[in-house]
């Protein structure tokens, strides 16, 4: 009996926090189905009186959202593929090869992680301008090509691959690249999935860099377009909410589907030092 009251209080607290956490998200979804103007009434409506899809149907026409969705999707997919390629090779080499300067280099990379990305943005913009990459998908992807965090993630995981396995493959006459492709990559699948999730979601949600690189309206990614439209459509609450749902939904679905793999990335990152 004495244990029950604290348990009830604690679990009620957890439920309350869950409600507070979910409230803005649920309201966003609910408002996106409301009739025009309904979300701006007082007292606030929590559920639409007559749910309607009209704002979702208006998104392509009034916000050109399909184009922005495609921009975001293409950029996030290619950034993910490139990041997998660059970081898996480097992470594997840092984990399993012995070469001069390896540890110094790796420590240098890790300590460079405190440098805020904003420091690089001004010269990077100038460089990309000279390369003709302003306003291109590639220009947005470039900072995520190789990430120090990605290399770190793969390295930590690849260290657990038994040397004997690699040695055996070498005895069988497999080339280094073949070992990487046929032995290392398949074994690293879980961490590559983690890396893919981090890169995809990070690129999808990224705001400042695409805002800088995409100077032309039609090349905006979803967050940039949304921020831009927020001023213009400030009265169209329901329309903006529909746009926000479309922006948030893909990453939330990805997270819910691959939660375990996503969390592993945080745990690997969390125990570094």
């Amino acid at each position: 009996m004495r244990r029950r009251i604290p348990a009830i209080v604690l679990n009620a607290g957890l439920i309350l926090i869950a409600v507070v956490t979910l409230a803005p998200v649920l309201w966003m979804i609910s408002a996106s189905f409301m009739a025009p103007g309904e979300a701006g009434t007082f007292p606030p409506r929590l559920v639409p009186a007559h749910p309607t899809l009209e704002h979702y149907l208006l998104l392509p026409e009034r916000m050109h959202l399909i184009r922005y969705f495609i921009n975001s999707a293409v950029i996030a997919c290619f950034a993910t593929l490139l990041s997998l390629f660059f970081n898996s090779m480097a992470g594997y080499a840092f984990a399993k090869f012995r070469f001069k300067g390896r540890d110094v280099l790796f420590r240098f990379l890790l300590s460079a992680m405190v440098i805020p990305a904003q420091v690089t943005m001004l010269p990077l913009f100038f460089m990309l301008k000279k390369m003709g990459l302003i306003n291109t998908y590639l220009g947005v992807m470039i900072p995520s090509l190789a990430s120090i965090f990605g290399i770190f993630l793969v390295r930590q995981f690849a260290q657990s691959i038994p040397d004997s396995l690699l040695e055996a493959a070498r005895m069988d006459g497999a080339s280094d690249f073949k070992i990487y492709r046929l032995v290392v990559l398949p074994l690293c699948k879980p961490i590559l999935l983690t890396l893919a999730l981090f890169t995809f979601m990070g690129t999808w949600n990224d705001f400042m860099w695409p805002l800088i690189v995409m100077t032309d309206n039609s090349n905006y990614t979803l967050p940039v377009a949304l921020a831009n439209l927020a001023g213009e459509h400030v009265q169209d609450t329901e329309l903006m909410m529909a746009g926000s749902v479309v922006t948030v939904l893909p990453v939330v679905i990805l997270f819910l589907a691959f939660q375990k793999h996503y969390v592993r990335g945080i745990m690997v990152g969390g125990v570094k030092e």
Binding site: N11, P43, Y92, V248
Partner: protein
């Protein structure tokens, strides 16, 4: 040192080949720009320089002096420190509190709650900032509506210079607490049960156990979390950009926002580079202090 075969796995030449693509990319798109930004901060790099570098002039410390002399820069410093020094500890405290609750033996449906609490972390900041702008609406907003049940009269969250930064902090805490919570939970689970058992045998109550077992055992995790939170919070940008455009009365103008506006709106890129480096310097000092405190506490 034990004897190892010389090329245990692959030759060094191959290793360099494997790390080359990533290192070249990091070199060109990260290291070079950092050095370039440093150089840029001592020049009058502007929109003409973007066209041709012949327009660049060396101005020594002029940009830095201009920043230190500009009231707007100090305003951005104050705002950013407000956000970091209030929002950071609040964020960490909320994460720790909720982690303790979720990790408690009495909690039910732990993984369900964990998932829900983590959800804001994966959402797009811009999208949720837009949602929160409506939540903060003085008349029709959800927050004022809820507060009205507690007798609080309507607050103009984003329109009042005194309330705008607290509003942004609240959004940031909501958006980020799940991340640190997960790391705290992992840290808590690493504490061995027998430490608590020993404390209990010594007659320590729940609070004493927390102070004498949880706090010291969790110190490394906490330092890590504080460091990443502080680094992240110093880079405040999207929240004010979307919700307040730095207003009202520049009360939410952050350093990164100032850098963005100077660099990419007015194309004073040399000046913006000096702001970026001052920010970097501040982050470096803060990180060093935290790591130093941790070392001293442990030795």
């Amino acid at each position: 040192m034990t004897l190892r075969p010389r090329y245990r796995s692959g030759s060094p030449a191959v290793a360099y080949l494997f790390i080359a693509p990533a290192l070249v990319a990091i070199g060109i798109f990260f290291v070079v720009p950092i050095v370039a930004a440093f150089m840029m901060s001592f020049t009058d790099f502007d929109i003409y320089a973007l066209g041709s570098l012949t327009f660049v002039r060396f101005v020594a410390l002029e940009n830095y002096l201009r920043a230190l002399d500009a009231p707007l820069f100090w305003q951005a410093i104050r705002n950013t420190f407000y956000f970091v020094l209030v929002g950071g500890p609040l964020s960490v405290a909320v994460s720790l509190g909720i982690a303790l609750m979720v990790n408690s033996r009495l909690a039910r449906f732990k993984s369900f709650f964990r998932t829900i609490y983590f959800l804001p972390v994966v959402t797009s900041l811009v999208a949720v900032a837009i949602v929160w702008r409506y939540v903060y609406h003085p008349r029709a907003g959800l927050l004022n509506y809820v507060l009205s049940f507690f007798g609080v009269s309507p607050v103009d969250w984003l329109g009042n210079p005194d309330m705008a930064m607290p509003a942004i902090i609240l959004l940031a805490v909501w958006k980020n607490f799940g991340y640190n919570m997960l790391i705290f939970i992992a840290g808590l689970q690493n504490i061995q049960d027998d430490l608590y058992d020993a404390a209990r045998i010594d007659g320590a109550g729940v609070w004493k156990q927390f102070l004498n077992v949880t706090v010291p055992m969790l110190a490394p995790t906490t330092v890590f979390i504080v460091v990443i939170t502080v680094i992240g919070y110093f880079q405040l940008f999207a929240e004010p950009y979307v919700m307040t455009q730095g207003g009202p009365l520049n009360s939410t103008l952050s350093l990164v926002m100032l850098m963005y506006e100077q660099g990419f709106r007015w194309w004073s890129m040399g000046y913006a580079a000096s702001i970026a480096f001052l920010l970097f310097l501040i982050i470096l000092v803060f990180t060093a202090i935290q790591i130093f405190l941790r070392r001293r506490a442990l030795v």
